[in-house]
């Protein structure tokens, strides 16, 4: 029996008749929390967020309360709030659901956060391809302004804050928070070096800036509603709240699901919630947190000790669906994107596909990433196009190892980790590819030909 979803953020989004307009939102209790918080002290809201333990839902899983604490409030410069709505980690499609179906929830979460940090201007940086999403948000902001929920003297208080929707233009690197800020300043989105450019100190226009993901900011509304302590009871210690998981690839029922953190395992998600693998095939591998996360093999055992001292011995199916589970298994939950691959998947082709992505998306600022990601793509493309060599597995690992840790931002790791894990865990397939091709086979992949661009 499948564990039931616990829908907090997505409570209404898919309800029949629920519409993205403000009237509908207010009928469902919308903006009451903003009203309540405007009567609170800003520092008390920050304290509730800290107590809640809510971790960032964008990829890094950094505690939001800590980010707020790091904000430089003594500089005298304006403080900005930026919502990272550049949802672009391959496999992720959760923020889209909120923005398209329940935009006011995001706006309310943002306004509460903005009040807590005394921001006078907030931005939503939405990915360029979501034209419709941008229109929905623009319209929602207009409605909220007319209703007095944002703009001048919000709900007749002394607090004023406006909100701007800003569209990206198709670049994955804009999901990296300092790249996003560069983009928002009208420049190429080359990520900034940290230190000194931590957004909390030197963010947008060199001012203190809080950058959080859509899902994270929506949580703020619910933290205020139930109180940080109550919120922290949802999920498990260090893994509080619910998370929206995006499941794609080879499952019978792909989709997005909101669960209490750790309420179920990856196995239950794949088999019970998503109906298992199609056509009676078997599970081969899972990428547990977006394409940057290290791949997990179906017959792999994960052993070790958790932080609380308990020993574990897991297969993929036993890994708890939360932040710390995949981390303990040597990977990460990232943006909550679970990509499932069945036993027909050619891992060299899957690798080639991922490498093409990172080669295309590297901003080009750091040489190891720009050149390395390109070479990773060139090698795997050659492999699937009939030119595989037995030594390619080692070559790929060598290139990836030379990227990791040598770049300004985490994109270098995002490009290296998939390669390191694919090659380590499926090395026999990489070698077999070369042998099969030497015998005249294996030259036409099931995903279709890969071309070098």
């Amino acid at each position: 029996m499948a564990v039931a979803e616990k829908r907090i953020l997505l409570k209404y989004a898919d309800e029949p008749g629920y519409t993205p307009d403000i009237e509908c939102y207010k009928k469902h209790g919308g903006y009451q929390m903003l009203e309540k918080t405007l009567k609170m002290k800003p520092e008390d809201i920050s304290a509730e967020i800290m107590t809640s333990g809510v971790r960032g839902r964008g990829g890094a899983g950094f505690p939001m309360g800590m980010k707020m604490k790091f904000l430089d409030r003594k500089s005298g410069k304006p403080i900005y709030l930026v919502c990272n709505a550049d949802e672009s980690e391959p496999g992720t499609f959760k923020d889209r659901q909120i923005m398209y179906k329940d935009p006011h929830q995001l706006i309310e979460g943002m306004m509460i956060t903005a009040y807590a940090i005394n921001a006078k201007l907030a931005f939503i940086y939405i990915r360029g391809e979501m034209q419709e999403g941008a229109r929905i948000l623009e319209n929602a902001i207009k409605e909220a302004r007319e209703g007095g929920y944002l703009g001048d003297k919000i709900l007749d208080s002394d607090y004023s804050c406006d909100m701007v929707v800003h569209r990206g233009a198709g670049a994955y690197i804009c999901g990296e928070e300092t790249g996003l800020l560069e983009s928002l300043e009208g420049k190429r989105p080359n990520p900034r070096i940290k230190p000194p450019f931590f957004p909390a100190v030197l963010g947008l226009y060199q001012c203190p800036t809080l950058v959080n993901n859509v899902e994270t900011l929506c949580n703020v509304k619910h933290i205020v509603e139930m109180g940080g302590e109550e919120y922290a009871k949802i999920g498990r210690p260090n893994n509080t709240g619910t998370r929206i998981w995006s499941v794609s690839g080879h499952v019978n029922k792909p989709g997005y699901f909101e669960f209490e953190c750790g309420a179920l395992t990856y196995g239950e998600l794949i088999y019970d919630v998503c109906g298992g693998i199609p056509n009676g095939r078997k599970l081969k591998a899972v990428i547990p947190g977006g394409s940057s996360a290290k791949v997990l093999r179906a017959d792999e055992r994960f052993k070790g000790k958790l932080k609380d001292g308990t020993e574990f011995d897991w297969s993929i199916e036993d890994i708890p669906l939360d932040f710390d589970g995949p981390m303990a298994a040597g990977s990460m939950s990232g943006s909550g994107a679970v990509i499932v691959m069945d036993d027909t998947t050619d891992m060299v082709e899957a690798m080639a596909n991922i490498n093409a992505f990172y080669a295309h998306e590297s901003c080009g600022q750091c040489t190891p990433c720009r050149e390395g990601a390109l070479w990773l793509k060139k090698v795997t493309t050659r492999m699937v196009n009939g030119g595989a060599r037995e030594e390619d597995a080692d070559l790929l690992k060598s290139i990836a190892d030379q990227i990791e840790g040598r770049t300004i931002c985490a994109f270098g790791e995002a490009a290296a980790w998939p390669v390191q894990s694919f090659v380590a865990k499926f090395k026999d397939e990489f070698i077999e590819k070369a042998r099969a091709q030497a015998n005249g086979a294996g030259k036409n992949g099931k995903m279709g030909a890969f071309t070098l661009a």
């Binding site: 499609f93 360029g128 569209r167 794609s248």
Partner: protein, 161 residues
């Protein structure tokens, strides 16, 4: 370069939303491209003047961001997601089917000028892949088997426009 009055008004309303003018550049590029179909050298010049920037400050964005283009495209812009979750469900075969149905090469425009087909990277709808983004509309679950249906729909759309 002459832009429509309405467009200039929209642009003039957009700029003051930002604390610094330069921030508006990407939004201006979107506005101009949506109106003209692409970003011409004249458009780069116009936007640079409007925001008191050097043309290179605008041009370097046009060459960086995948959504911005320097050449006109067909009447209908077909973007097939090729990233892993879509590829696992047949996106490459879907793309081939669309190419033959619309008589259009990947990365090019059909001889009748009606269609441009491109591969794009993940567009955040992986649960309903393969996804095909046509102009501003997302088409979901476009497997090779039903790609012809979408192609017919697009051909009819061009005819009636």
């Amino acid at each position: 370069m002459e832009l429509k009055t309405e467009l200039v008004e929209e642009i003039d309303a957009l700029i003051p939303k930002y604390p610094e003018k330069r921030s508006a550049v990407l939004m201006l590029l979107h506005k101009v491209q949506e109106d003209q179909g692409y970003i011409s050298p004249e458009a780069v010049q116009w936007i640079a003047e409007k925001l008191e920037l050097q043309p290179i400050n605008v041009q370097e964005l046009v060459t960086f961001y995948p959504m911005l283009r320097q050449e006109p495209i067909g009447k209908v812009h077909v973007k097939v997601c090729r990233t892993l979750p879509c590829a696992l469900n047949g996106a490459y075969a879907t793309c081939e089917k669309l190419q033959s149905e619309l008589n259009c090469k990947l990365g090019g425009t059909s001889p009748d000028g009606n269609f441009t087909i491109e591969f794009v990277e993940c567009i955040a709808s992986c649960g309903t892949g393969p996804v095909v983004h046509v102009d501003e509309t997302m088409h979901e679950n476009i497997r090779p088997e039903n790609a012809t249906e979408l192609a017919d729909q697009l051909k009819a759309q061009v005819k009636s426009s």
